[in-house]
């Protein structure tokens, strides 16, 4: 479904990602893990089209999308829930959700999706007329995830979805992701709670200083000694 080859991205001439190779199969849940500042977000942004790739290939459903502008990747079925949420702070919660469905047309179906999100995160329903920017950190994160799902993506890119979410809810968020995945949506997940992420992932990649240094199934990685030492603090 998604295939990234030799991806290279830089900021103002400084390389942030060099040589990233990864694949996400149809209906799979793939995790991308790594330490702080190693290029996870940059990789996701490049896939979504927010950062231009200097070199390499990004193939989505067998089409090369490297030069497709970000907004045209959405109707193709690609959606990124970005780091730092990037909500429309001055708009209401509901308006944010509606905008998530910008590429969709049928108002009734859109309403259904909104209701689905509301049942998933009841607080959003309660606060649907509050301005997104005044919601608490965790509430905003839920809204960001919800908004991302509104476009009915085929591949969902999630950048640290559990950021700032209370422990009780982290499980719920991850459950939700799994649920979405089981409904046929492929997921590429960047997550810091490694054990939780790798536990639900079909496959995982480890990124270090802009390169993929290790890959394997979730369980393999969890049991790897190097990983335990470097990332799990064991």
């Amino acid at each position: 479904m998604l295939e990234v080859r030799n991806l290279k991205v830089s900021y103002d001439g400084v390389l942030a990602v060099s040589r990233v190779n990864l694949q996400v199969g149809k209906g799979k849940l793939v995790a991308l893990v790594g330490g702080n500042g190693n290029g996870k977000s940059t990789t996701l942004r490049a896939i979504a089209g927010l950062n231009a790739a200097d070199e390499g290939e990004i193939r989505f459903n067998d089409t090369e999308i490297k030069n497709v502008p970000a907004h045209k990747r959405v109707p193709m079925g690609l959606c990124l829930v970005p780091e730092g949420r990037r909500l429309f702070a001055r708009l209401t919660v509901e308006r944010n959700l509606e905008l998530g469905a910008y590429t969709r047309d049928d108002p009734r179906e859109i309403q259904e999706s909104i209701d689905q999100i509301y049942s998933l995160f009841p607080i959003l329903k309660e606060r649907r007329h509050q301005l997104a920017g005044t919601m608490s950190g965790g509430e905003q994160q839920m809204l960001a995830i919800g908004r991302g799902m509104m476009s009915r993506p085929k591949l969902l890119l999630l950048d640290e979805p559990s950021w700032g979410i209370a422990p009780k809810f982290v499980a719920k968020v991850l459950d939700t992701i799994q649920l979405v995945n089981q409904q046929g949506v492929s997921v590429l997940l960047v997550e810091q709670s490694l054990h939780k992420a790798l536990a639900i992932a079909d496959y995982g990649y480890v990124i270090q200083t802009g390169r993929i240094v290790m890959e394997g199934t979730g369980q393999e990685l969890l049991n790897n000694e190097d990983i335990k030492k470097a990332y799990l603090g064991l």
Partner: protein, 288 residues
């Protein structure tokens, strides 16, 4: 001072205020969506006036009938300005944006002077001319038509922004253009649209003005300061705010000038404007 004079003054203020509103709507729209202050907005107005004038002078078409054409022409101009210039400075610091639109202002004036000479022109025989006298006071017919036009256009823009999908997309782009792209919104297109509509509003205002205001390359200078005050007073980005503020400014200007001395009419408007900002730093209808 008689009651009639008060009524008369109010009416005149209201009518010119509606024009201010229309000029300001375009400005506030561009600001609201892009956070860019367009110094060259008065020149869009000027181009609108010249467009009406030339259609009138060359083909004897009345500005009122060519209004859609003028609007279309200015829309195109706005889009073109966006594509050629503004799109390159979206991420630049606020001051360089000011600088660019200021340069555009000078450029447009220079171009107008180059193409059409510094002469004053006017549309002398419009289908609407002269005045009507209602209940003892007189108002100019062109002004009335312009006022009605201003209300219609403002309402149209408002409905477009609040009731259509494109309006929502504009709003989203305004809030966070990267996030909007992630929703599948073509932010470039939205910005171009904002400039198109903004310029078209100014163009329509110019067309409506051309039936009673002299036309010359620097005419924008007469309106731009007032337009800025109106946009601010209404709250940057607020269409309804611009409408209310426009009328308010028009009435205060005429009334204040009449009561306290015409030489201070602008000072009165500005002072009241500052006073309002002290209590509502975000303007009347602006969001904090």
């Amino acid at each position: 001072m008689s009651f009639e004079i008060v009524l008369q003054t109010l009416a005149s203020g209201l009518l010119i205020g509606l024009i201010y509103a229309l000029v300001a709507v375009g400005l506030t729209m561009i600001f609201g969506v892009m956070d860019i202050v367009n110094f060259s907005h008065g020149e869009f107005l000027m181009f609108g006036m010249y467009s009406s004038f030339w259609l009138y002078a060359l083909y004897a078409l009345d500005p009122l009938f060519t209004l859609p054409l003028t609007a279309l022409f200015l829309f195109g101009l706005g889009v073109m300005v966006y594509k050629l210039v503004i799109s390159k400075i979206i991420n630049a610091p606020m001051v360089s944006q000011l600088f660019t639109t200021f340069g555009l202002m000078l450029l447009f004036r220079g171009i107008a002077q180059f193409l059409w000479k510094p002469d004053f022109r006017s549309v002398d025989k419009s289908v609407v001319s002269g005045g009507v006298s209602v209940a003892g006071f007189q108002i100019g017919l062109p002004q009335v038509v312009a006022g009605v036009g201003a209300i219609l256009v403002t309402a149209g823009v408002y409905l477009f922004l609040t009731r259509t999908k494109a309006g929502a997309a504009l709003e989203a782009t305004a809030a966070d253009k990267d996030a909007a792209r992630l929703m599948g919104i073509d932010s470039q297109k939205m910005f171009a649209l904002a400039w198109g509509i903004g310029a078209a509003c100014a163009g329509v205002a110019g067309a409506l003005l051309s039936t009673f205001f002299p036309i010359f390359p620097e005419v924008g200078a007469n309106f731009i300061l007032i337009a800025f005050v109106v946009v601010n007073l209404g709250g940057f980005g607020s269409i309804i705010g611009a409408l209310i503020a426009g009328v308010l400014v028009g009435v205060i200007e005429v009334m204040g000038g009449f009561l306290l001395g015409p030489q201070y009419k602008l000072a009165i408007v500005l002072a009241l404007f500052l006073a309002v900002l002290m209590f509502r730093p975000q303007g009347l209808l602006g969001k904090a």
